[in-house]
């Protein structure tokens, strides 16, 4: 009897125990989808947040970087391919109803005002080291005109810092307290300001590197977010520290809104934002990237890290698209140093393969097209631009010249103008010439690049007020004419001025990339792989160097 009872209890326990068996090994972890974030390039220093966010929230954040205008365009057109976006300034995006529709939620994460960092010795010399200094953007433009201020700044057509600096100048020069319109813009103030624009570029990392090299020789100032200037000061790499000047009644503060684009990721978005606004993340951002915490009580705890602000009156952001578009167009078409370049076009037989001819024609149509989007107009030929086609196969042919006429300069204002009839004709000519390209014969690449450099050198002697470069489109297999060695020898014999003319290689097909890299090592410039990069990116990058 007893045995039976024990047995029964054992059986019961076993039955119970069955439920308590260790659970089967968990199924192979389902990969958590990344939370992709399109971020402006000035946020590269915040990349360690990916790791921190994962640890704190389990959300796998992945940053992808782009310029402000390019990223704005991507979000506006619904092409961002990202769950979220994080911009230094999203006002351009959010001042259109289309942009508002794309952004489901937004939350500001931190702050950094744009400042003018001036080498301390020069700041002292000009009396700009006084605590009660009231230097306006108008004063800054005058100093640039007088040659006292030679600055580095990212491109006004592609970046927030460059654009807001230009806005600050025109707002201060207009004397209006608000609601600036395209028609009010004082054009001479823009011209004055841009006289000091010595070091252009496309992103803060590149500009910082160049600024370190050129401080004291070509440039004595850097216009950028306070966070980048303070980081440079702390890096110990500068010849001398920068004194930060916050333009009087013209400060523009980046407020870094973190935006939700993909509504189905709302829950993860909320987790990420809660973490980014938490004390550990805010303190990390302040200490490591020198941005100001959005939460005042945390800002108070780290105020030893950041300059005291006093009263900094903000520049109101004009949501007037006509003004913004007009300013960018005026900058590109009228105020920036005009571009002169020779396009070296490979018309060898190998270019018939793999759709390369079609790619080349597409590229030429792209720059001579009518794409008026934010990004299209940066890649596009601008007024005053000079362009030569230099085609080659076995031998190099004669160059064909195109000159885009200047527009009619308005006395005042920057209202955007339609392309003139003359400009449209030049663009059509460029497209026609592209369509007529015939591919046959060998590839005398080094001869062609050499001839192009000589052509640009001659032109530069005649008209130095242009920015010269060579852009070569090729599948890169040189088999005629000069060898690389011979090119090197002949290049060395050219006048020293040739060093100011970079060569950009745009690569198609299965080319010998290394040979092209060796070439640009000699000439300066860069290789762009048009098979891996969208054409827009290729041209935007080339523009940044032009």
């Amino acid at each position: 009897m007893k045995a039976l009872r024990v047995l029964l209890i054992a059986a019961l326990l076993a039955a119970c125990g069955k439920k308590e068996e260790p659970p089967p090994p968990p199924p192979p972890a389902i990969p958590v989808a990344d939370f992709t974030v399109l971020a402006t390039t000035d946020l590269k220093d915040a990349q360690p947040l990916e790791e921190m966010v994962l640890k704190a929230t389990g959300v796998r954040l992945r940053f992808r970087y782009g310029g402000t205008m390019e990223s704005t365009e991507a979000v506006l057109s619904g092409d961002a391919k990202a769950d979220g976006a994080w911009f230094a300034n999203a006002k351009y995006l959010l001042s259109s109803t289309q942009g508002q529709g794309r952004v489901k939620l937004q939350e500001k994460i931190m702050l950094s005002p744009i400042a003018v960092g001036v080498s301390e010795s020069d700041a002292k010399r000009y009396g700009w080291d006084k605590p009660d200094l009231k230097l306006t953007w108008k004063d800054i433009a005058s100093a640039a005109k007088a040659g006292k201020l030679n600055y580095a700044l990212s491109n006004p057509a592609t970046s927030n810092q460059g654009f807001m600096a230009l806005m600050g100048v025109v707002a201060a020069a207009s004397g209006k307290s608000e609601a600036l319109a395209a028609a009010d813009v004082d054009r001479s103030a823009i011209a004055d300001f841009l006289k000091g624009y010595r070091l252009p570029g496309d992103n803060s990392t590149y500009l910082s590197e160049q600024f370190i090299l050129q401080q004291g020789t070509r440039v004595n100032a850097f216009i950028n977010y306070e966070s980048w200037l303070l980081s440079l000061n702390a890096s110990g790499k500068l010849r001398e520290k920068l004194r930060l000047i916050y333009p009087y009644e013209g400060v523009s503060t980046a407020d870094y809104p973190f935006m939700l684009l993909n509504d189905t990721r709302r829950a993860d978005y909320v987790k990420v934002v809660d973490y980014l606004k938490s004390e550990p993340a805010q303190t990390w951002l302040a200490r490591q990237t020198l941005r100001r915490p959005i939460r005042p009580e945390i800002a108070a705890k780290v105020d030893d890290l950041l300059p005291r602000q006093g009263l900094q009156v903000e520049l109101p952001f004009s949501p007037d698209r006509a003004l913004a578009d007009g300013l960018i167009a005026a900058y590109l078409n009228e105020f920036r140093t005009p571009i002169a370049s020779t396009f070296v076009l490979d018309t060898s037989g190998s270019m018939n393969g793999g759709g390369r001819r079609q790619q080349l024609i597409q590229a030429l149509h792209y720059i001579a097209g009518a794409d008026a989007s934010l990004t299209g107009r940066i890649a596009r030929l601008t007024q005053r631009e000079k362009l030569w086609f230099l085609t080659f196969s076995d031998t190099v042919r004669r160059p064909q010249a195109f000159v885009v006429p200047a527009g009619k300069a308005a006395a005042r204002g920057v209202a955007e103008q339609d392309d003139s009839e003359a400009m449209r004709q030049v663009l059509a000519d460029v497209r026609d010439s592209a369509d007529k390209l015939q591919m046959k014969g060998g590839t005398a690449l080094y001869d062609a690049v050499y001839d192009a450099l000589k052509l640009m050198l001659d032109e530069r002697g005649k008209n130095p007020a242009y920015q010269y470069s060579v852009v070569a489109f090729t599948d890169g297999e040189s088999n005629q004419g000069r060898t690389l060695e011979a090119f090197k020898r002949d290049y060395a014999a050219l006048p020293e001025d040739v060093k100011a003319i970079p060569v950009f290689m745009v690569l198609f097909g299965e080319a010998n990339e290394q040979a092209l890299k060796d070439l640009v090592k000699i000439t300066g410039g860069r290789v762009f792989d048009a098979r891996k990069m969208p054409l827009y990116s290729v041209f935007k990058d080339i523009r940044a160097y032009q």
Partner: protein, 381 residues
């Protein structure tokens, strides 16, 4: 060999005893857990009410104490935050089985009326109740308030509490007065125009309330006819346009006021509960932060719009449950019991007006829509 009857009986008893014993053992430690699990299961078996709410009440609905009260009352909720202006578009016939929200909790009367209007068109028996309220105020800074007092546009109503003459302030703004043009402007002698920053009225309720209030200030009365609505809104459009870019989410101008400060936002038109809840959460406010009460002002009723009987009961609970009312005060809202509001706010050091007595109503829903349309058209030009 067949089992004897007695033996069979014995086994049955044994089995029952063993089973019961084992069960008793098994349950002894888990009894409490099970009871709680049963409770939770009961709550979970109740289909949560689906709510579409504005940012203003989001923290309230996330508060664990609120969730607990709602669970105890068998009214769990599932809320999603949406801009007040977009709520009317979410009204759906067919009930929750169809994915339609059970209730809406927008940030103000105008949006609530839009929701109710949409419900009427969809033949849904919507009901409204206003469980808490907050007056519209101007968050500002002591030096700025003193300049307004020196120029006859404001008066001190107590220590660090000011009343603003909206008619005079509106006139000064329309006259494009700059801060540095004012008498005794030393503390804020800047070239910017005197303007109150608002959120984008095309997207948020507080911007619309600012339009309502300035229209009253300009005409001296509540606008009731379309012609006056149009002409008044045309005149007032510049108060929005001249601000430049306006944030288009409800906390936008308040975030700038708190984080960037006087240099960007000398005056921000907000709901009183925004600064009060901030003060309660931080146990204080930043140096120099003061509230200006427009004379008269508009009291914003936070309106709960229910789409069915169950949701209606939830609305009544929010309005009448003492605990929920108390929690609402902690988020900066005023309730019928004004002493409770005052005693809650007092420790923060933020000075508030005990009783807001000079109050006007916003114009009717149709007139408001007319004015908002007019301003929106002007702004997109």
């Amino acid at each position: 060999m067949p089992m004897s009857a007695s033996r069979r009986a014995a086994i049955t008893v044994l089995l029952a005893g063993a089973f019961g014993g084992a069960l008793w053992f098994a349950l002894r430690g888990q009894k409490q857990d099970l009871i709680e699990q049963n409770d939770a299961a009961a709550a979970a078996s109740m289909v949560p009410l689906q709510g579409v709410i504005s940012l203003d009440v989001e923290t309230f609905f996330k508060d664990p104490r609120v969730l607990k009260v709602l669970a105890a009352k068998r009214m769990p909720v599932n809320v999603v935050r949406v801009g007040s202006r977009e709520m009317a578009g979410k009204v759906l016939a067919g009930g929750s089985a169809n994915g339609a929200p059970d209730f809406f909790f927008p940030s103000g009367v105008v949006a609530a009326n839009q929701v109710a209007d949409a419900a009427r068109k969809a033949n849904i028996p919507a009901a409204q109740v206003s469980p808490f309220f907050t007056p519209m105020v101007i968050a500002s800074w002591e030096p700025v308030a003193k300049i307004l007092v020196a120029n006859g546009m404001a008066k001190a109503m107590g220590p660090r509490v000011y009343g603003v003459d909206m008619a005079k302030l509106t006139q000064a703004m329309l006259a494009k007065t700059r801060w540095k043009d004012l008498k005794d402007a030393g503390a804020y002698e800047v070239g910017r125009s005197v303007l109150v920053s608002t959120t984008d009225l095309r997207r948020s309720n507080s911007g619309a309330m600012y339009l309502a209030l300035t229209s009253q200030a300009l005409t001296g009365d509540v606008v009731t006819d379309r012609a006056t609505a149009q002409s008044t809104a045309l005149k007032l459009a510049e108060l929005f346009k001249r601000q430049g870019y306006q944030e288009n989410y409800v906390n936008g101008n308040f975030d700038d006021y708190v984080a960037i400060g006087i240099g960007k936002t000398p005056m921000a038109f907000i709901y009183e509960n925004q600064l009060v809840s901030y003060a309660l959460a931080k146990k204080g406010v930043g140096e120099g932060m003061v509230l200006l009460y427009p004379l008269p002002t508009i009291v914003n009723k936070v309106v709960f719009v229910s789409m069915n009987e169950r949701a209606k009961a939830l609305g009544e609970l929010l309005a009448n449950d003492a605990e929920l009312q108390g929690i609402a005060v902690e988020y900066g809202f005023r309730i019928a019991d004004s002493d409770r509001f005052m005693s809650t706010v007092k420790p923060t050091g933020l000075a508030v007006e005990p009783r807001v007595t000079q109050v006007v109503d916003p114009p009717s829903f149709e007139i408001m829509a007319e004015m908002i349309d007019t301003v929106a058209k002007e702004m997109s030009q």
